[in-house]
Symmetry: C2
Subunit: 1024 residues, 2 copies
Amino acid sequence: MASKYVYFFGGGKAEGRSEMKALLGGKGANLAEMTNAGLPVPAGFTITTECCADYYKVGKKWPAGLMEEVKKNLATLEKVSGKKFGGSKDPLLVSVRSGAAASMPGMMDTVLNLGLNPDSLKAIIAATGNERFGWDAYRRFIQMFGDVVMGCEHHDFEHALQGVKEKYGAKQDTDLTADQLKVVVEEYLKVVRKDTGEEFPTDPMDQLAKAIDAVFGSWNNPRAIKYRQLNDIRGLMGTAVNVQAMVYGNMGNDCGTGVAFTRDPSNGENKFYGEYLMNAQGEDVVAGIRTPQPISHLESVNKTIYDQLVGIRNKLEKHYKDMQDLEFTIEKGKLFMLQTRNGKRTIFAAVKMAVDMAREKLITPEEAVMRIDARQLNQLFAPIFSADDLAACEKSGNLLTKGLNASPGAACGQIAFNADEAEAMAKSGKKVVLVRIETSPEDIGGMAVAQGILTARGGMTSHAAVVARGMGTPCVAGAGDVLIDYSKDQMVISGKTFKKGDWISINGFTGNVYGVKIEPKPSEILQVLDGKLDPKKSDLFQDYSQLMAWTDQFRKLGVRTNSDTPNDTVRAVKFGAEGIGLTRTEHMFFEGDRIISFRRLILVAETVKKLRDEHNAKNLDELKAACASCGKCCTEALEAVKQYEQALAELLPLQKNDFVGIFKALEGRPATIRLLDPPLHEFLPHDDAGQKEMSEKMGVSVAAIKQTVEALHEFNPMLGHRGCRLGLTYPEVTYMQVTAIMEAAVEIKKAGLKVQPEIMIPLIGNVNELKNQRAVAEEAIAAVFAKANMNKTQIPYKIGTMIEVPRAAVTADEVAEVAEFFSFGTNDLTQMGCGFSRDDAGKFLGEYVKLGIYDYDPFEVLDQNGVGKLVQMACELGRKARPDIKLGICGEHGGEPMSVEFCHRTGLNYVSCSPFRVPVARLAAAQAAIKEKKAGKGTPAKTTAGKVSAQTKKGKIMAKKTAKKAPAKKVAKKAPAKKVAKKAPAKKVAKKAPAKKVAKKAPAKKVAKKAPAKKKVAKKAAKK
Amino acid sequence: MASKYVYFFGGGKAEGRSEMKALLGGKGANLAEMTNAGLPVPAGFTITTECCADYYKVGKKWPAGLMEEVKKNLATLEKVSGKKFGGSKDPLLVSVRSGAAASMPGMMDTVLNLGLNPDSLKAIIAATGNERFGWDAYRRFIQMFGDVVMGCEHHDFEHALQGVKEKYGAKQDTDLTADQLKVVVEEYLKVVRKDTGEEFPTDPMDQLAKAIDAVFGSWNNPRAIKYRQLNDIRGLMGTAVNVQAMVYGNMGNDCGTGVAFTRDPSNGENKFYGEYLMNAQGEDVVAGIRTPQPISHLESVNKTIYDQLVGIRNKLEKHYKDMQDLEFTIEKGKLFMLQTRNGKRTIFAAVKMAVDMAREKLITPEEAVMRIDARQLNQLFAPIFSADDLAACEKSGNLLTKGLNASPGAACGQIAFNADEAEAMAKSGKKVVLVRIETSPEDIGGMAVAQGILTARGGMTSHAAVVARGMGTPCVAGAGDVLIDYSKDQMVISGKTFKKGDWISINGFTGNVYGVKIEPKPSEILQVLDGKLDPKKSDLFQDYSQLMAWTDQFRKLGVRTNSDTPNDTVRAVKFGAEGIGLTRTEHMFFEGDRIISFRRLILVAETVKKLRDEHNAKNLDELKAACASCGKCCTEALEAVKQYEQALAELLPLQKNDFVGIFKALEGRPATIRLLDPPLHEFLPHDDAGQKEMSEKMGVSVAAIKQTVEALHEFNPMLGHRGCRLGLTYPEVTYMQVTAIMEAAVEIKKAGLKVQPEIMIPLIGNVNELKNQRAVAEEAIAAVFAKANMNKTQIPYKIGTMIEVPRAAVTADEVAEVAEFFSFGTNDLTQMGCGFSRDDAGKFLGEYVKLGIYDYDPFEVLDQNGVGKLVQMACELGRKARPDIKLGICGEHGGEPMSVEFCHRTGLNYVSCSPFRVPVARLAAAQAAIKEKKAGKGTPAKTTAGKVSAQTKKGKIMAKKTAKKAPAKKVAKKAPAKKVAKKAPAKKVAKKAPAKKVAKKAPAKKVAKKAPAKKKVAKKAAKK
């Protein structure tokens, strides 16, 4: 049990500080900080999150000492405010608010106007001279307290209120007079009696104690638990409770309330941004009954207050060095600050603000880099609608409605009302927007092919939203105005009817839905990268370039890309990739006619292998000689050998060409090329039609094909005949692939360009496999070199392996003797290490994360504690055996920020990820390095302490070198931020895309509104 | 390069010793040892195996200094023998023989009579006065040297010889006169000229150098490489070369040659055993042209020599302390010993000799235990034919032929000539003996259902032999007299015709084939264990019991059994199991009607789970309450819950009964019971008929069943929804199973018996899984205890886990916090650790072992270097977190001797294996402990040094305790060996089973005969 549970703030000073967020919650810590900074904050006190933890420890009871502390602080509060809590003369009323270290808006409980009872009500009326205000406050208090603390049914209150309104013919709550509100209070008190069998408490201290209990209790309500799960909030002690003197914005026209951001949260512009309403409560700003005014308008209404507010804005931004989200109230001409916190922002705003603030010297470049949420970064590259298109569309009345901006990006397509339809339409070449009331896992197929997804129900964390974000597909969710009638295959929005096949457009940045076809454009940054927009004309690109230049300056990890084609490679290089970490050569086998060649090879491979075994022949030449002389081999067998050779001969030049293209695109950067990996049956058709087609194309009987398909069937193909196991069985394929790689390299070299091929043998579990395949590869290389009259000094190749089989990880010292590099295939390492089939585990992994077995889906975020241990072990063993071994990762995790941080800590040389994630990886790598530096002056993480320090140093040097030649940095240098043209049209697109309305309410609030406990939550969210 | 390459022996002393086997080869070391022991050994010298290694190192050339050493030793040899090498007066002739540290009979090259040329030939004839002998020796030398050293075609010599024989009308080689042999020599010299273009060398030194070259070269001939692979001979430097003065057994009637064993190699009787022929060469003893005499007969022929031989026999056995396999030659009334080595023996003989020798104090009990090949031990339990039955059968002329004793055991069945037929017959309830010319992998199905396998072709290492031994199926291979005509579905043996369906019997111990039905009997030991034979009447059982008592005395590892039924458990306990290491509860789900109950559960499980999720219900009661009140759940949903509960209620008492039976059978020993493990789809029928049957039995539509089957389909079921993942998804199943276990335990306890249940949660990869399932289990246990008014002190249960997922191994410290024991599931750990699907890897694992990627199939012998590392890691981490954690293994490896040794070294507490392998494991565990003690005074292996010593001590204590109460020991004590009745009929069975003819030629020789290079090899095997 702690020695101090309560921290006071008020009267110009506070016991807390903003650094005490963990203990006081975000709200409490910032209220204290603002108080200390001399800002006008209503006095109050914060009960610590530790107290909440202790509350649960002792069985949901107040821990010893808490009551005394509360009473003492309440006394201080009375003293500072000069009022008496629930007193009968200008009484002190308080709000009781939750406030955890992480923002969980609307998830926990809040009670306002606490301390009201018949006596204090009279006093309030006397003090304010506003009877209606008094009774309105009282009825609100009863409803809120009754609901939150006493567990009354919300709808009973609604029902009672409705009855009174009907009785007096009042349309709005505001139409009710003071006397009518008295009736409401009477009815409310009846509701409390009926629902709880108790009287509504009149003792203020009793009210306070119960409210504090309720807030503590709300920490573990299912909604809050779920929210923390979904938003990945963990490791908190509990919620703090803030008890604060009430101030009122609705006491008259010299009162008001507002919400503001110190900069524009949608585009990042350095401009005071916000809205306010005079004679209103916070609730009213959000509720939308009255239209709030832009904050700048306040200047003309009350210049003193406005100037004071601007001063506070400046002070707070300087103080917190970040954009602040403020809440304020004006009570009888006096300004009170009720909250400040770092404001939520779009990625566009985040990038601009971070770079601007660094330019303003408000923060350092390191801090600027740390400001960006790496997981959000690639929203920068999502397709957008052009501002002109949107303007035209809105002008012509085609903006239909607005839902939640659930997954960023612009999409346009023809409507499909179910997943099968979507798949069918997509198959026939149509662009589809899938429109559903809600989506469910069965819709995955349709979601995958859709350009965008629109749902009528569900919040930011609904199935549609989560899956769409995962897929990178634009999604507008919970657009309540969309009325879908599946039976008629149509929907109605704002009176307009849309049929299946009609065109719509959705903007995942804003949540806007348009009833016409608007062609999405590539993002501004892509336009620049693709040479379609002058970089000087794009502020966004300038900011992005500056940011990325900084990341290259700070990061130690190299960043490569996974790419199988020249096009992808070009794109990745533009995104800053320093090479290829993984080229999957089998993808090339599927293209065009070559699948026929490869299938021919598969069909005869087994026969050839058997013959070779029979004749004890080391290679095809020996086999052919033996076959010819033994006399036993029938023509059919010799024909198989011929076909085998023919297939290899057909594939060689095709593969070579692929590699030439990739090497060219890399402009001298290294390329790790993985040899054939998947099981052979993946290349064969499994349905009758496909087999028949193959039979016709190849002149082989369907029966023979069926037989091969059956023979290649495996119970667990993941653990079957694949990877290097194929190369061991069919060494000619390895020989052909390596020949193709090296012949391509020779061609590049002869053209006077640099080339660095890295040949990667997949699925090694045992060093002997690698020895075997390395020997085949070296033989092929020697032959190519001999023919080209070249050697290793001209084409410095490497041979290495994937580490993806657990056995390879634990015997990595042996493997490293034969491997010049390791590339961690963390997808397979996760499959085998955790025993999860990626194709099957979906059935239970959701449950696993829900139950907290794994913190994250281990296929999305590297399981550092388990699979990560294997990676660390392999790194240590590998480096011990070969100190200069190159270590990288090429699994999906290579572009996932938390996993990138792990790779940094583990001392890998590089991460590799898909082209679009390259910037994400660069950013995450820089953040990891900065974090490490902050934590312990650049010493590596505990897990590998002392073992990788040499490497880390080396990494540093490498990182510096990289930074020097990183193209992005140059761009940034050439285009100083100040010169940016403010009116460039492209810029507008980016800036306008995230609509202003979003900024008004944090997305989470919106979630709350759509969540089952709808109104209740909303009400709580709208505190003050 | 070594400093000494050649070791001399002769003239009463030798430079070598028997301990120098690695350097001098077995033959060389023993020749030296015999020389030093004063035995009459022809003098000679041995070129070391190290020299062979150096020979290869310098590129198949003689290493520097070798020539000088050879010349020096040759000079000494001349001095000692008083003869001149290839000289023209009583010349010295030598044999040049290979001899590696491990016996590789017939695999490498040998040249006899070296030093002969026209001059020395004349001298030999002069010295012996035997012209025919001289010319015969010369023509043999030319043929052998021409073939082995010069690479002439063997059949060219045969052809030449045949020509001469035909010319002179000679039927046998022996019919040729000296003059005719001269012609043969001329023809042979022509062959050499023709095949090589060279003259046959006449310089003896030239001959010697070339012969030594040839022997070195033969170390790496494909035959020898293959033999080492097949017989698992590894780590040798090469072959030694023995150059030894020739002695001749065929110079006249005062000459002779023989082979003997110091004890009977087939039954172990302490009796001089062997055969000899006067005026003959070694070849003649083997060739079968003349019938050899039993060794005892020599006494009457030449008592002096016989007595000398018996003296040598006694001396050698005392010296080597093991049964010796001797070769001797009598030259002109003088005895020469040519070889001694430890003799090959049947397991019956091995057990008897080991125990006898220990009783005779010739060896210690430790040594006796080390003498038995643990891999052979369970041949003791294979079915046998009774001696009476065999005698009757042989008397009536029904012993048809004899093949190789390829896989031990007696089998009797109706003939099937192909695998499909065999399967069909077995399906219709018939007992089948599969008869094939040779078997191939396609025959596996038929081999698996057959009682026994008989093949006409193929040696001890043929497909049939290897597979049959693996399956434990009796097999007689390579019975050349069996003439099979597939087209007629019949075979002819010795003129008798057998049709498909006719009865035959085969004896895998002897290779005998009988043309009648002989009912196999259980092995003698099983008869005793099953109470059908008085232990006092079985010498074999007495010896076995004594041996096993010793193993229990020496071993530190506990031995448990894998058993799912009371019957198996009873058997295992009789075999010495100290508990159950693995009961697979799912096996019980398949029995009788319960599969219906379980299928019912599977059919509704998903619906129930969905409902539970929807209602956020923690258990079924909560769910039912929620369903009842929510009003949304349809009757169908509620029906699903009802069915789910019903299925669980049906299964509970059935499972409980299973456990009661097993607990009873264990008589208080601990039982590790694994909860449900396999994926659910394994329990459902996948074919239409099965689904229809299920639909009818359960009153569910076929469509619904099909849907569930489809929904449960997995791409990689090995890595899918199974093990604890099922328990996490369907906690009620865990609850039911644990309830059944504990209710059974309560019942046993209430009956006044001891019970130690150990609940094992399978497939843990993450400690959180275990926490979850442990909580469910503890809840169930608490409920059972509460109902029974009992507690943990009365029923000391444990909860632990399998370690079979690599992730669990590397996070074993975390897992151990929640697990009281680990049981290594090395089957799955191998699958996931190596990335091999057990069901699929067969396709390439053979190739893998052949290529030397893995030394053994990792599913047969634990992959110590890889999977073993995970095991060691888990042990260390586990013990660190929980020092008293119990560690065991329950994979198939638990009964494999090399793997058992690994488990011992790693400091496990116990191994667990199938009942029949329990004695094997006990023996292997004892051998491991003795080996360790010998190596380093009982310190544990390097890998876990210092970490498990505390454990090891504990293990010792445990082992002693176990030994004290081991029933087998008691039996041994009660029946002192001396009292054993010699004429007990049961004993005869065991003794006679391994036929005497086997002893005559080591099995490997037989292999050589049937191998492609048939005659050539045979000739070499028959040296002297």
